[in-house]
């Protein structure tokens, strides 16, 4: 009985959470059923108790169910999984689910609202000059003064200016939005308001002065329309300057540091709002930072755990809860203790480096040897091929086994193995063979961890970002502003510094003034 319980330590079942989760196939969400009558109080603190609905369990659990009722000692004979790891996995699941829900529902409305408002306004603005010109013709054609070549010239100019305006607006504004910003884009909103007020005031004037009074001076009306189009072109120029040109000149240098491993980069930016600066940082993050690898952080975490586990504080003087005194005592004791963890770290790192170098050497040799087995057939030779001809994929599959072991061992040592599946390696090999790359070029992808963009989207660990800032995110960058871009597993801390004011003065050097003399030090005996 107890032997059966020994081997059957975990079995998966449906929990409340995984029922809603979109990632129900994740291996991490295995939960233990536990009988409510657990004997040891402290053990139940560590284990997760999840009441499952009386639905059918997945695997054949009937035997164990029956035995649970009879075996009083199941708590001692089963392997215990500490509750902390299970807690954290299920918490992650919950967090991811809630974020997925948020994604799908609300925020697209805001974006589409902005777009539709802008589109409607743009259409209105475009049709206004045409309306100004056409309305008198439609409404009181017979009363209008005849207006010959001058008007026709003005018609042509209106037409071309509208065409230029149309092309300019298309080039500037009709672009696929590449990001979803938390707050509205202040300059765009200001421009839209400005355009609206402008066109509104023109319509007001037109309606009151021209439509009501049925003005007969058609040339004046057409010139009024031309002035509107000119002013719209100037507003377009203003839009270019505000939206595009102003932030081109670099004014600030920002330092981006990743919180988990301290990798940092510097970028130069102009006058941007905090949210747009965050956007620039994120766009560059995917290209410049090496991919986040949680497997590389385990070493420092274990060291930290060892530091904490070393000391225990006992309060012998009474029930007084002197928490700060306790922690200070712990820190002082830890400082005085002669631990040799630095020694361990040094030797461990040296050892790891040696191992990595050895594996790397083996890998390079294996790959070079594998590549020598393949030869590209030229076009003429393809007719009279000696053996069977293979396309790149088959060629890759043919030479892959000889290097697979060395590659896998190397990836294991550098903890990159989950980023490269066999399929992706084969694809990359076929790609390299097709493009005549050398073994070194093939290996470049595996020897150094590359930027996040290089890998599969599932492995990114960083898709949903939150901007955390003490100042309003639409305010501009200032010297000393700090904001944080958080995603689920890590965060990027961004620090803004102003580029100093540079005083450059000139100094003219005459080419003829470069003269030299020997340094003498003679010693004479007298």
């Amino acid at each position: 009985m107890s032997a059966a319980m020994d081997t059957e330590s975990t079995y998966s079942g449906y929990s409340h959470y995984s029922g809603h989760s979109k990632k129900a196939h994740r291996q991490g969400s295995r939960d233990r059923h536990k009988s409510p009558r657990s004997k040891d109080g402290s053990r139940s603190e560590k284990s997760v108790t999840i009441q499952t609905p009386p639905a059918e369990p997945l695997l054949g659990n009937d035997t164990s169910r029956a035995e649970e009722g009879q075996d009083d000692n199941w708590g001692e004979t089963t392997t215990a999984i500490t509750g902390t790891s299970e807690h954290s996995i299920s918490q992650e699941d919950i967090a991811r689910i809630s974020k997925d829900l948020e994604d799908s529902v609300g925020l697209d409305c805001k974006r589409y609202l902005g777009l539709t408002v802008a589109a409607v306004l743009g259409l209105l603005v475009f049709l206004t000059p045409i309306a100004f010109i056409l309305l008198p013709q439609i409404l009181w054609r017979d009363d209008l003064e005849p207006c010959g070549t001058v008007c026709e010239g003005l018609f042509i100019s209106v037409a071309f200016k509208l065409l230029i305006l149309l092309i300019g607006t298309w080039a500037l504004f009709f672009r696929q939005p590449k990001a979803d910003l938390p707050r509205l884009f202040v300059f765009r909103a200001l421009l839209l308001v400005l355009i609206f007020l402008f066109v509104f005031s023109y319509w007001l004037f037109y309606g009151v002065r021209i439509l009501d009074l049925k003005d007969t001076n058609y040339q004046g009306i057409v010139q009024y329309a031309v002035s509107l189009v000119d002013a719209l072109l100037f507003i377009h120029y203003l839009a270019i300057v505000l939206l595009e040109l102003r932030q081109l000149q670099p004014m600030f240098t920002i330092k981006v540091v990743r919180s988990t491993d301290g990798e940092s980069r510097y970028y130069s930016l102009g006058h941007l709002s905090i949210q747009r600066a965050a956007l620039v940082v994120l766009e560059n993050y995917y290209r410049d930072f090496t991919v986040y690898n949680p497997a590389l952080l385990t070493a420092s975490k274990s060291r930290a755990a060892k530091h904490m586990a070393g000391l225990k504080v006992y309060n012998v003087d009474g029930p007084g809860n002197n928490a700060s005194g306790q922690s200070r005592a712990m820190i002082a004791a830890a400082a005085r203790r002669r631990d040799s963890s630095h020694n361990e770290l040094y030797y461990e790192e040296a050892d790891h480096e040696r191992r990595v170098k050895k594996r790397r050497a083996r890998l390079v040799v294996a790959v070079e040897e594998a590549f020598t087995h393949i030869k590209r057939l030229q076009a003429e030779e393809q007719q009279k091929a000696p053996g069977e001809m293979m396309d790149p994929r088959e060629a890759a599959q043919a030479i892959f086994p000889s290097m697979a072991r060395a590659l896998q061992k190397y990836l294991r040592t550098t903890r990159q193995q989950q980023y490269h599946s066999m399929e992706s390696i084969l694809q990359h090999l076929a790609f390299c063979i097709t493009n005549n790359m050398t073994p070194k070029a093939f290996l470049e992808r595996y020897l150094n961890p590359g930027p996040t963009l290089q890998y599969d989207r599932d492995r990114w660990f960083s898709k949903q970002w939150t901007l955390v800032s003490e100042e309003a995110v639409t305010s501009g960058l200032q010297d000393g502003v700090v904001f944080v871009l958080k995603c689920l597993d890590f965060s990027l801390v961004v620090n803004v510094k102003k580029i100093p004011f540079i005083k450059l003065s000139e100094e003219f050097i005459d080419p003829k003034c470069h003269k030299f003399v020997l340094r003498l030090q003679s010693e004479t005996s007298v």
């Binding site: 340094r519 003498l520 030090q521 010693e523 007298v526």
Partner: protein
């Protein structure tokens, strides 16, 4: 011994009288000099102020007339027979010291220890 341009140079000096020794056709004094206004003062190991372009004693031969008279290595020569040696070229200094018709040269030399000795005696 630092000199301020425009101000007279003051120093505690010692009088040293060297009787030249005849060696064959030459009269030798038994020491070597370095420095001069045409030389590089920063390479002088004996001077306190590295802009001092004066004449310094760089070597004293053992048992020679200079050692007998009390000249020490590192001394700065201020006057030779009344002629100033603080603002002369290296060659001019050599010539002043090696005049063929003089058998005795009277030098005024200064060194750090002289200044210190005077200060200590003033204090005590």
């Amino acid at each position: 011994m630092a000199f301020v341009p425009g101000q007279p140079v003051t120093a505690v000096v010692q009088r040293i009288e060297i009787h030249k020794l005849r060696q064959g056709d030459n009269l030798i004094l038994g020491f070597s000099i370095g420095g001069g206004i045409d030389q590089d003062p920063t390479q002088n190991p004996f001077s306190e102020d590295k802009t001092d372009k004066g004449i310094y004693v760089t070597r004293v031969t053992e048992g020679g007339p200079a050692e007998v008279a009390g000249l020490q290595i590192g001394d700065k020569i201020m006057q030779v027979n009344g002629w100033d040696m603080t603002m002369v070229t290296h060659d001019q200094a050599r010539k002043r010291l090696t005049k063929r018709n003089e058998e005795v040269v009277r030098l005024l030399v200064t060194r750090q220890s002289l200044q210190k000795a005077v200060q200590q005696s003033m204090l005590s």
